[in-house]
Symmetry: D2
Subunit: 404 residues, 4 copies
């Protein structure tokens, strides 16, 4: 119920219109997120398990299905923003109806048989909470009025610059992935736990900063085809890409959830695509890490992911001599295509569509971001996006080969 309430809290202070807009096909209206996460509980928990459960509205099965083809036809993704009804109020009513169903169901679940499915529903809703932040940011960004989601708190003290260095790892055989034995929650795509063989490698202690990235832009990085993957170069030319998504033309301002503000030189660069991350790394004489390297390196580091949501990524801490910004800052593009782990088996039934069917054409991101729900991240977590996407809180961590 805390997770359910948190979703609604994200919309506090927004207008009904704000929650209805879809600014591009990848974005969903906030009200759709509120309804879809309820649909998930309704379809996978209440309808099959709660006797005499009445669905809230017969058409909602169709309207709020995201991509579960085996659950039937769905409203087209790109048309989610055409629906003024159900209104925000009706959607909140839907949520209350589903919450009541969940409570009834779980109070009768004396043997805890539904804990697994319920946990999946909670994790699913937490994933959508992050999308709600990234989607409202995009919605506001395309509006010439440039509204702020929240006013900035006064005086976040700026910390001094932190030098970048590489920490070396010896390689060899390591265990990757999650056990999936129920001892701790994980998604099916993190399994099975398996061994892999790595060469020696090194990872940067912190993320690439705005100031470093601005150097790349000023050096003509977006006009030098030799730095780019072929598909990235085509994308850049077709879309006239010249800088990170939310940067102003003069490279001085960026749009944030606090509205437009000066780019902070020491904060990590955000909202770059995989293509941009990869080109930057090549320009810097480095490369992106593989997801295996990232996971091995992250294992020994304390996950500070219980920190509160900050709405913008924080700069690195001068005090630390270790890897930092692994979690809670920005998702980090890896050079690994999103593929099944050896021996991967998706969940059975419609829930098998959750992760497995996307294992093509996407790249793995690791870590978590400043708008990831606290507690939602872990070292084995595999996030995945198309290489041209930018509206998520994406950042860049560099890696290098080490002579073995």
């Amino acid at each position: 119920m805390a997770t359910r309430a948190a979703s609604e809290a994200i919309c506090a202070g927004l207008l009904p219109e704000d929650c209805a807009i879809q600014s591009m096909p990848s974005v969903s209206p906030l009200k759709w997120h509120l309804a879809h996460t309820s649909w998930f509980f309704e379809q996978f928990l209440l309808v099959p398990r709660l006797p005499d459960y009445q669905v809230f509205h017969p058409l909602f099965e169709h309207l709020f299905n995201s991509y579960y083809y085996t659950k039937g036809q769905m409203h087209p993704r790109a048309e989610r923003g055409l629906l003024s009804r159900p209104s925000m109020d009706e959607v909140l009513g839907y949520r209350a109806h589903v919450d009541a169903g969940i409570k009834a169901l779980l109070s009768a679940d004396h043997r805890g048989e539904l804990i697994g499915l319920t946990e999946l529903g909670i994790q699913h809703e937490q994933q959508h909470q992050e999308l709600m932040f990234t989607d409202i940011k995009h919605v506001f960004s395309v509006n010439p009025l440039q509204p702020a989601y929240r006013e900035a708190s006064a005086g976040s003290t700026s910390r001094g610059p932190v030098e970048m260095f590489y920490r070396e790892f010896p390689g060899g055989i390591s265990e990757l992935g999650a056990k999936g034995d129920g001892s701790r929650f994980c998604f099916d795509n993190e399994t099975p736990r398996h061994r892999t063989l790595l060469r020696p490698f090194a990872l940067a202690n912190r993320l690439v900063t705005n100031s470093e990235y601005r150097e790349f832009v000023n050096a003509g990085g977006y006009r030098d085809s030799a730095l780019w993957l072929a598909d990235g170069w085509t994308w850049l030319q077709q879309e006239c890409i010249e800088r990170p998504l939310y940067w102003s033309e003069d490279l001085q301002q960026e749009f944030t959830l606090h509205g437009p503000r000066s780019i902070d030189a020491k904060s990590p660069v955000s909202h770059v695509s995989f293509y941009e991350a990869d080109a930057y790394a090549r320009w810097a004489g480095a490369r992106l890490p593989t997801e295996a390297e990232w996971e091995v390196a992250a294992k020994g580091v304390v996950d500070d992911s219980a920190r509160p949501i900050t709405l913008s990524p924080s700069s690195a801490s001068p005090a630390s001599g270790n890897l930092q910004q692994l979690f809670g800052t920005l998702w980090q593009w890896t050079q690994s295509a999103y593929s099944p782990y050896p021996g991967f088996k998706p969940l059975t039934g419609s829930l098998g569509e959750y992760n497995g069917k996307f294992m093509c054409n996407q790249m793995v991101c690791r870590g978590s971001s400043c708008v990831t729900t606290p507690g939602h991240s872990r070292t084995t977590y595999r996030n995945f996006f198309y290489p041209h996407e930018r509206w998520q809180f994406f950042g860049v961590r560099l890696a290098k080969d080490v002579a073995g």
Copy 2:
């Protein structure tokens, strides 16, 4: 002020979300209409004429310009639905601000020098009132929940069928168009008044009914290329057109401003494109009228356009032996391309963009519709749309040649 209030009244009972949606590029959010009609008064009346007038918001000049290129850059038409802000409440505030300005301006206009511009602003707003009805109809139509704009009033008594007959006109030289001398309002595209030479012709007494049009559909009219203009046939195949815009697949139901309801056989068929109207006429062994024929025929008929808005087109009246449904029912496609009248001169300045620059690729519609603001129609009125458009209240009146 009555006209200004009428625009807001159209939105009464709607939710803020309803007024923010753009369901296709031709449709504008209702809130945009409310703002744009205010922008028109602000830009053409208040800014140039009212001393010390403060614009409501510096960006609104950009956001609510529709197509006046000579007034500066404008927000792209297809992206009007991406703006959650300004909210409906802010737009109403904008309207109040502009209304106050108009009142101040006109109370000081002792010699009535601004009557012409004010009248233009009023007529402009009335045109947008009709668009508000057609746009909200489309917005609701694409929603699987199929909301009603207004509940239907009980018991509209159905009138008996009215036989179609053709009324003949002798042709010869007639005067067309409006004088444009200020004695009665007209748009620049209705001028200059000029003489034209017509052959004898005949016009149908009433519009084509749903039942007649359904026969055409059932007879395979949408599958017989010989009935269609080449561009119409291409359009029909690309868009998979098989029936009027709002008809259900079984040809029994149509979507209306009262929600879905049974198609009334005796009511006129509506929401057909020029291509469909033209193909139907060919199938029926007739043709569409020219705009000159329509105007000549309409001259002697009483304009009943002061009737209240009905939201759906009414069926013909059995009592009448004359031409009927000329006004207040459905716009009637003519076979005339929208071209300048001989000697046409557009208004000077930016207002010259109002009508003249659209005189290519569009077809003239005559009459008025069931959602035209009462008093807004006249025999010389020239409405114009692309031949594939259907979301306006379009209908079909047949014509024939008569041996001279």
Copy 3:
């Protein structure tokens, strides 16, 4: 047979590859024109009329149908350039086969019953001869090697500049169109002959020259939205139009059937769209003529259309005090949308698709061009194209209103 031979002569000196290329959907490979004109005779003359006629190849009915839907399915227009087979040699064999059939048929047509259809086939082939010139010009123009269709003949003596003046016409009632009584060939779209009422008007004695048009470009004509129709402005921006189709960026060179060469200041500007012609006229304080005005003015002028094909438009003659360049120079855009004449009836059967079904969205051009087959032009001829098209030999003649 002279017409048939002339088509093949156009291809003399070209390579088989030249005759197979389709450089845009509006262009057809020359080999396709050679085959389609034969298909026309085969389908409308030989198959229905010549006993025991064997079609050359069973699939050619499908491959070389242009747009006669009622004759069956056809190969998609945009894919004509994907066909390496039939080869040029096979197509020439097809032509010989059809020619033999025509000879056999006509030698047995003792009562001349087939003269009408044969004449239509000849006129149809002459229309395609013009297209062959315009299409090969476009094919060569997109090739960076810029090949010449024919080497230029040495020393075309340049004539002095000819001042533009307007010749006035009184207006009143005139007869327009062709009788269509068989006394002289005409297309169905030129009928019926009918009366029209014109206001006094004036027509420019000659076409707009390259030098005059270059002034318009240099004056920023392509960047001033106030000069353009709305659809023209949209077209110009989407297609990045900045000058006539074949002009070089520096406005000094143009691509011709003789390859690239210096723009001749006194020659008429060519390969402009209706939108450009209309914008130029507005900039020049004039307008385009209506097709009725053009026809009335052309009536008293000697048609010099028996002149040989020149491949490029000639400049005006200083000697003349009359209207000139009506024929044999460039097609002249009118401001008239292509619509049916009052009382128009298309041919019966599939040949009714020849002209009538295109009477929407296109503009009428009058006159003829430097690549029109000699003898193919007349004052009542109605050519028609979409307003954005430029690859035909289009030019600009100005007109003006005259106080009545």
Copy 4:
């Protein structure tokens, strides 16, 4: 010179028109391949190394650059089919000119310093030889006349069906990739040789046959979303995919380089995309191999790749108890995304664009095909294509996990 002559021999018997057509953007005209492979030698060998070398034509550097951005601007790929010139004859002249240059250069290369670059030019031309076969197959396939590239030889004796079985491999640490030390030719993407850790796995002894794949189609495989990757399902629906590329609607005929012929049940299914291969494997209760598994399994098998080109894939041999059809039959889709090997370094200079910049969004194919130049294949060869592509000779080999 044998390789150079082989390219020209592929065009023997074709018409000039056949060699000029581009049937889709991925296809290049055969004449373009002939010129581009010469451009490669000219740009990378002759221009930088042969004193006083005169380029054949100054524009060819632009026209026949494929994708080497660092070599300058290039003619757009999708417009290669718009060029009638240079003609086939001119291109052959270009080839002779380049051949003479190569001979002059190599005869003076006493110390063999240019062997590496020359070998790369030869391997590059061999790759294009395969594309010439696949491209002319596509060109002919879209022609309703369905021409044959070669007449089929009489009586290819059909061999009995071969049962499918899985051969198991123990996994563990293996060496992958090529040494790249110059001892044998390899592309940069095959390096560096490196160790990898595999779980036990099994590979099918032969490729999936037409008859097996037809069962999948008949069982509704193309209509069951649960079998497909998400992007594959989207692709299938948008492109209306219902069967392999060259199969007829009744699943009985396929288009081949010998023209249309009956589908041979025992031959391997060909011209399927990665999406289809992956869906088939899922339906069959198996999966596709990784590229590492394929390479490990292929190591001990005799490469029969010196066999002659057969134009169509041969069926499996009943005699064999080993893995077969690894080479010379069909490229085999793997489940591995095309990524850099650990420690990968592209070639320096423009040749670095050869392979490395494509390492995103593509899938690895292993083996070789019935139209691969004899001698061009090896176990470490990495071919790569987008997952939706079908016009290459692609086939399906199944794999399975084995309990470790």
